[in-house]
Amino acid sequence: MSNSLPKSSGRMSVSQSRSQDIIKQHSSRHLGRLLQSFLFFILFYLYLWLYVDLRLMYHGAGIITNFPVFYKGWTFFLPFLSYPGGPLEYLSAFLSQLFYYSWAGAIVVTVQAWLLSVCIDYLLKAANLLRIRWICFILPFLLLVLYTRYTYYFATTMALLIALIITCLYIKMTLSRTTTLSCLSTFLSLSVILYYLAGGAFLLFAVVCAIYELIFRFRWKTSLFYLLSAAAIPYVVGLLIFRISIIDAFCNSLPFSWKILYYEVRKRQVTFVYLLYVLLPLTLFVFGLLQILWKRLHFVKGRTKKKHRKKLSNLLLKIFSRYRHSPKLKWTVESLLLLAIAGSAVFYSRDENLRTRFKVDYYSYHKMWPELLTSAQHNAEDPFIAHAVNRALYHVGRLGYNMFSWPQHPDYLFLSDNKYKWTYWQIFDVFLDIGVINIAENALAECLEGIGDRPMVLQRLALINMVKGSLGTAKIYLGVLSKTLFHAEWAKHYLELLQTDPGLSTDKYIQHLRSLYLDKDCLTHTLLMEKTLLELLERNSQNRMAFEYLMARYMLNKHLGKFVQNLERLHDFDYRELPTHYEEAALIYVYGTRKPFNLSGYPPSPQKRQQIEDFSRLLSSYGRNKQAASKELSKKFRNTYFYYYKFASIGSNK
């Protein structure tokens, strides 16, 4: 007895120390995983904030057409309570507004991604699939791809998140409940709540619960009941109670809703959203089945395997064993692998051209001209970017000097070709700047319908109506804007100004736009731009933009006769010197027609004369063979109008 005590206490201390070791090991592994997640999500956040720049998505560039609007007050909130999925839409609309600040939007998306991974991790742990817990990072990877491609699926991914959270809740609540009835009641109550909150995303919950009950709890009847509920609940709650359409009852908030699939621009990269949705049920189903199979096989072939293993002792196994027993090494390798996969996902999904489109459009709307010109260099051939570049060049006073340093085509000035007939977002500002207010208003009204009552659109519409003196209409747009989160101050300023100064005589910008406003009306479906520009100049000969765009138009269309005729107008403006391209165009005209050289009083530049002679000489040296000479001419004269005049085809895009 006396001997047995120390023996047993010795055994106990061994087991205690062993369990302490296990706890230590477990907690260090847990800490390692935490650190890994922390590092990953910090990088995730920085990437979204600094590279993707979520304010570009808020802006939308006319490409994102489903970015939600959000207004303060009950009037906006209450309708969201009237249909399943409405509360989630409201929450998503609110959180999406934070994209206005890139850093805040990045926090929202990072938290969302983190919660998604936490939910997946929890569910895999609950299913005892500990070896494949790395899967929890796949969802953030997919999100990275979606944001790198500038697609807006925030509401859909929020629905997924809520469905997963509720699934975790179900598993947690039913862990201690053994009776089927209590599980069923939990499932039904959670289902109704989830369906009301997130609409069709409830289907994912039902499917995951069904798989869980079937494969991990072996309750096929319960599983079947859950699947039947997936069909019944949307029908009863959605169709019979809330009276929404049967399609919406089942599909709202899901990536295969017609609200996404019906529109080409909205379904970009939708496959990745499908993957987000199927990942968990598929993982549980496949790995759950494999687990069952593995257990059965392991039970039968356990001995033989062990024997077989013993025989295998090679270098690879040693390395593997070392890797398994060195937590630090394991952590390092896993972390590097994680970053490598994330990096690859980002690398292969990035689209610099698209990103440039978003950036240029953002800078263009906010009149950030130097930033626009810097960014535009990445994708200068894009017609929309080229169009914005021309506008930026005008605003920095370089249109007559540098426009041919950029790719050009006659359509780029106003995006006037028939193929741009549905392009409204990109054109309203150029027409507003130049004074064709009605075309800008028309384009904005179309945007209001196509893209929604986004603050950017409302702001411009309010401005236009103030310019036109339609104060009643302006007040309505300002009234809507005053309910937004970030544009309310601007609206309130104008609403107050309209009270004190209805003529807006103190607002210089509005007065400036009024001074340009085209007053000659015509009824048309396609604006004749040359006629319009001349009418603008007739209305206000000081309309510099109309003049420069008219001259640019003549140059782009190679109408040099008309160009030279209008050089006289230079005196209406304060040009200290003749813009380079104007001189080049005038020289071509003079050389072509052999008419006397007249630069409307501006002294001719000997360098330009030399340049055109060099150009002509070089072309002659190739026997005037344009194709043969193009390479060398391009090297020396690429940025001149001489080169454009000779080589640009104005029939189709350059």
């Binding site: 009037t75 169709l239 009276r243 929404i244 359409s245 049967i246 919406d248 017609w258 019906y262 549905w422 409204y424 064709v436 207010i437 009605n438 075309i439 208003e441 028309n442 009204a445 179309e446 209001l448 319908e449 196509g450 929604g452 009552d453 109506n465 036109k468 339609s470 009643g472 209409t473 007040k475 309505i476 747009y477 009234g479 809507v480 005053s482 309910k483 406003y517 085209l518 007053d519 000659k520 009306d521 015509c522 009824l523 048309t524 479906h525 604006l527 319009t532």
Partner: protein, 547 residues
């Protein structure tokens, strides 16, 4: 577990439960006290200074004639103050007294209806008091904080207005659209419900709703969809059918057996420098009719003249005449905007019709554009057959886009006696466009769309027509939030009054739109250049969409 343990646990449980109940009671008491403390206190205003002018209120109903069954006419007092008191009263019944800290006055529904019902045909008075932080001093040296403005008065009409109003809500776009729908509004309350919105058929277009004799029992609804095709929904009671062709502007024969409709080849255009950007032209159009019993579409040479554009049909109350607008085609190339587009003016004509024999008479001129100098559009005849209400504008076929569009009326009874269709411009017109008008079933009310106050957004107005044909100052369709229209981006168009609600559910209608089943009809001709047996060409949405 011992008995003691169990008892203790029960006791603990009871204590916990009791605590919980106490907590709830305390919270409720606090909430109730807070509610009482914060709520607007009623005050008896004994001393006030009088202001010799009416208070500035929005909307201003003073001088209007209001339906006795209309929803409360909430309003905002546009006077700065720290408190507001309103007393609404008439000859009979209890006055309604409202004290508010905010300038928005929300009138309680039941007392309002009671007061209006008791005082049909009488005057409704509205006293407005405003509390100012620093008031004037009385002769006794007391500080008077309240001021009373002059009483505002409105007239309560003896006759009810039809309880439901159906309209389309759409944004003021030109060619594209996203959300639009046909809604019905209970005029006695603020309840609005969707009859059908385009969410049910993938954002197609829904428009041109027409009822037979102000009844929801017989209705036609136009649908355009790139996915499900163009069609017209025919509602007869609970039964909904899809007719496999698009109806334009539609009017039901009083018998409900025939529906006349226009087929329009619309072109949407814009003005480069006018106050209204948008405009619409019919490059071609004709009149046709659908026979409900035989499920056929027909036309007649007098309804579809090659050299004329026919549109906007409306039946006389006895069903013996079809009135419509007709303009000569003065240009040869029907694919381009004519130079003289602003000279296209529509005449008002009519053709007699024998329902039993399905026979049409000759076209007669009712009112010619040459005489009026304006384009005559949108004729509507009151159900009692007495009044013909129409709009006239400077040119064209789409008054809602013409600022010059005003409402006019002809006394058909007088015209019958004298043979002269003398017309009169209504006093209710504004400087902006007035259009899309229709009558109530008792012919005492008209509803119409007006752009007054904004120039872009159409709102619905309700006006009383007395027995002499005088149309009184209208009221804007009331909303619960009196500032609702200040930030409303929807236009309300084609308001139609009906006596009861549309019973078919939106899901039912949506299902019919989506289904492939339809009443297949053959168009007798398409446009003014006849092509027998073919349906009208599919028009791109931007060509046909209109407000």
């Amino acid at each position: 577990m011992t008995r003691m343990h169990i008892r203790m646990k029960t006791k603990l449980h009871k204590t916990g439960k009791a605590k919980f109940i106490y907590a709830i009671i305390v919270c409720t008491l606090i909430a109730v006290s807070l509610f009482y403390a914060c709520r607007d206190r009623k005050a008896l205003i004994t001393q006030y200074s009088s202001i010799d002018r009416p208070a500035k209120v929005q909307p201003n109903y003073a001088g209007s004639v209001i339906p006795p069954n209309i929803a409360p006419l909430n309003f905002v007092i546009q006077q700065e103050g720290t408190g507001y008191f309103v007393r609404i009263y008439s000859e009979k019944g209890n006055p309604i007294e409202i004290f508010s800290r905010k300038p928005a006055i929300l009138i309680p529904k039941h007392p309002w209806h009671e007061l209006l019902d008791l005082n049909r045909g009488r005057q409704l008075n509205l006293d407005v008091y405003v509390e100012f932080a620093a008031g004037a001093s009385s002769s006794k040296g007391e500080n008077i904080r309240w001021s009373r403005f002059q009483t505002l008065t409105a007239q309560i009409a003896p006759e009810d207005i039809d309880t439901f109003l159906v309209y389309r809500k759409i944004r003021p776009g030109h060619g594209t659209w996203r959300d639009m729908g046909i809604y019905q509004r209970n005029l006695s309350s603020f309840s609005e419900s969707v009859i059908l919105d385009n969410g049910y058929f993938k954002h197609g277009c829904v428009n041109c709703h027409a009822f037979c004799r102000n009844s929801a029992e017989k209705m036609l609804l136009g649908i355009r969809s790139a996915v499900y095709g163009s069609s017209a929904l025919l509602l007869e009671g609970d039964k909904v059918q899809k007719i496999g062709t698009k109806f334009g502007y539609t009017s039901w024969h009083p018998s409900g057996r025939v529906a006349a409709f226009s087929v329009n080849k619309v072109r949407q255009l814009f003005h480069s420098a006018a106050s209204e950007v948008r405009d619409v032209m019919d490059f071609d159009s004709l009149m046709s009719y659908y026979l409900v019993d035989s499920k056929t579409v027909k036309t007649s040479p007098n309804l579809a003249k090659k050299d004329r554009l026919e549109t906007y049909p409306t039946w006389s109350a006895d069903g013996r005449y079809l009135y419509f607008c007709s303009a000569p085609v003065t240009w040869s190339d029907k694919t381009v905007v004519p130079e003289s587009y602003d000279q296209i003016k529509y005449d008002l004509v009519r053709v007699s019709y024998d329902l039993d024999r399905d026979q049409w008479g000759q076209m007669e001129s009712v009112l010619s554009a040459e005489d009026t100098g304006l384009s005559i559009l949108l004729p509507r005849i009151s159900p009692d057959g007495r009044w013909l209400l129409f709009s006239m504008c400077d040119y064209g076929c789409f008054p809602v886009y013409r600022q010059s569009s005003d409402l006019y009326m002809i006394d058909l009874e007088a015209a019958k006696k004298t043979g002269d269709f003398a017309y009169e411009r209504l006093d209710i017109n504004s400087s902006e466009s007035e259009s899309w008008h229709s009558f109530s079933s008792n012919s005492r009310w008209i509803v119409f769309s007006s752009k007054r106050g904004s120039g872009v957004f159409t709102r619905t107005y309700i006006a009383y027509v007395d027995k002499n044909g005088k149309v009184h100052k209208p009221i804007r369709l009331p909303q619960k939030d009196p500032a609702y229209y200040d930030s409303c981006l929807y236009t309300y168009s084609v308001p139609e009054l009906i006596t009861g609600p549309v019973r078919a559910t939106k899901e039912q209608l949506g299902r019919v739109v989506r289904s492939s089943e339809n009443i297949s009809v053959k168009m007798p001709i398409t446009m003014a250049t006849p092509k027998p047996g073919q349906p009208p060409e599919y028009q791109q949405p931007w060509q046909t969409e209109r407000e």
